[in-house]
Point group: C2
Chain length 435, copies 2
Amino acid sequence: MREFLYPEESTWPELIKRPSQNIMQLEQEVKPILKDVKERGDEALKYYSKQFDQVEAKSLIVSVYEINQAQKKVNPALKQAIRLASQNIEKFHRAQKETVTRIETQPGILCWQKSVPIERIGLYIPGGTAPLFSTVLMLGIPAKIAGCSEIVLCTPPDRKGEVDGSILYAAHSVGIQRIYKVGGAQAIAAMAYGTESIPAVYKIFGPGNQYVTMAKLLISLECVAIDMPAGPSEVAIIADHSAEPDVIAADLLSQAEHGSDSQVLLVSTHAPLLAQVKESILFQLVELPRKKIAEAALRNSILVLLDNVSLALKFVNMYAPEHLIIMTEGPQKIADKVQNAGSVFLGKYAPESAGDYASGTNHTLPTNAMARSFSGISLDSFMKKITFQDISPEGLKNIASAIVTMAEAEQLQAHKRAVEMRLEKLNDRLDNEYR
Amino acid sequence: MREFLYPEESTWPELIKRPSQNIMQLEQEVKPILKDVKERGDEALKYYSKQFDQVEAKSLIVSVYEINQAQKKVNPALKQAIRLASQNIEKFHRAQKETVTRIETQPGILCWQKSVPIERIGLYIPGGTAPLFSTVLMLGIPAKIAGCSEIVLCTPPDRKGEVDGSILYAAHSVGIQRIYKVGGAQAIAAMAYGTESIPAVYKIFGPGNQYVTMAKLLISLECVAIDMPAGPSEVAIIADHSAEPDVIAADLLSQAEHGSDSQVLLVSTHAPLLAQVKESILFQLVELPRKKIAEAALRNSILVLLDNVSLALKFVNMYAPEHLIIMTEGPQKIADKVQNAGSVFLGKYAPESAGDYASGTNHTLPTNAMARSFSGISLDSFMKKITFQDISPEGLKNIASAIVTMAEAEQLQAHKRAVEMRLEKLNDRLDNEYR
């Protein structure tokens, strides 16, 4: 890890640069896959399954039998853990339900906004080295609370053509029935365009490798919504003299083991911490099964020493981390001033892994400085807001002249006429009543 | 307008197809402009200003003097109309502020979600045939309520190198100071990458022609957020026997005059309405200054007769209109069942132009069936949500075993260690206290 002692503010933009991720170069590789799936449907999916996953797919859908079998294999302790995590995730996301408030903007003009579920959504769950069943919970639970009526899940099969049991268990526990053994860019294409087996959806969620991310970006150009462009995972830690080096080291490593392209940052106001944390990292690394991955990630990572906590906060807001852990005295005061971060962890007993799994907050979060403008996944991500207006004759009269004046200034005569026509009809009606 | 009498449900997907908009073909034209602005900054902006707007730009920024002068030219009636509209827009959007609710998902685990303004945003206001000052209000007012600290506005100059006075007045009334005379794809590039004059922003809002839309889509691939991909404007009207044909015709025309690529739909349950509306359209068309545009739009548009209101609603939900006007008896009952629409207008006295200008709802809405998954602009669009968790020792103990079990199953040992390390430190501390 590179160390920076009291760097000048002018050098910060350079320090916070992410390792470059040139996924645009994959555009030419991914485009033909999308086109092929659009044109040949299931045939294309089976072709890519053979080519990329080395699997002869008989059926793309996971059968009820497979789901039942898989569940028997998941051990009871894991089932219980999933239940507890699910309860917390559900509790936090259910609290995000919004009530409809009607606002009378002027007498006779009632306006309101209502959240309505997105009817058809698709979830992508990557395969690879570890089965990410936790992401099934993080996407599936809010989708169910939102009331999405059709939820499709795609995940790549292993070499035996099977889907990991814990993924099937998590999906089943959430209430997702349509699970397909399809991975990669072709899965994104299938959910965007629809095939004989897989229905087209309106919004696609979930992490994935660079091909999946590229596919999501490309289909987002064709009016299918996506959750957000996903990049490598990150954590930043703000720590003062009160923080424990071993705990910081453990947190940095827990992020670093995600992938060799992960990035971890320690921003401290306490000089001795830097050496202590580095030492502890070396010590803890030894026993890690994913040591190689973590080491690679640490090479992209930095330790920064700054004069005070408010500078540290400024640095972190500029970096806009996916995860931010605040290990200082009085973390709440600092948390209140966070402007750019995906999810924030306060104090000594809030490891990032709590949010990754079980505290209740969502773990699908904006990376690569996108926290400056993007939110993580919440109940909102599975709904859209529709506005309504109910206008009485009195209400229309109250705003008629403003509309007419503005429409004229924008040279939209028919806009003006739509108001005037109503006023004429209203006058006719009143005349008739007086007669 | 084409007419469809009692069409079979199986034919609906064909009926609701939008006129095709192949903006992807512009990709190769727009990409070099983006690249050029990224590399040459202001130089490139001036070059394109000359090429596309036929203007020799001396300065890109609109001066305080220009803003003051422009305001003198705006007539008092328009100023008053803008003030009234602004009040209603402000009232409706201010009511969208969310309060932070802390949820204890389990004893000792406190989670909450907080909306924080996006610090730097960019607004694009098109030039062209009419000055869209109303869009300045629709984007600027919620941005100010959200608390965005830096708001940049780009709009193309006219042949004299000037910006329309009503746009400057609207911007000034909202409190936007940084206004640049730059239009087209190059304006989007400038706000995405930043130039010597124009600061880079984190999210770009606003309508525009196909080049602007393509530019927004392309920069969204590079981690700059955009409001939504904008397509041609649309309205659908559900009308029964109680609706007045002249009013329907006026509303259809008010949408049709937006652009020749606009689309309007009437879905009725009352057979005589169709002929009456067509007749009224012909009559009203005569006096419209934008007759040619409206006629072209009407050629893309359809009248549909269906058996009952619930079928009409089903049809409209499948179409997912940007604007939906419900002119039936008891419109509220129908409004409650709307699943896909941008903004809904209830009853005889709610023309679309009310929402376009002055009722208080936002007029930047999802088009091209995007209402299935996208919301229109709201206060939320200018903020992002950050989640927080504050976990006590008791809280960590309550979820520790779930985290450890799940992390192990996902083969993430360091995630598990981050929890265990904290528990060890906690035990050490307790031991010390007992001693």
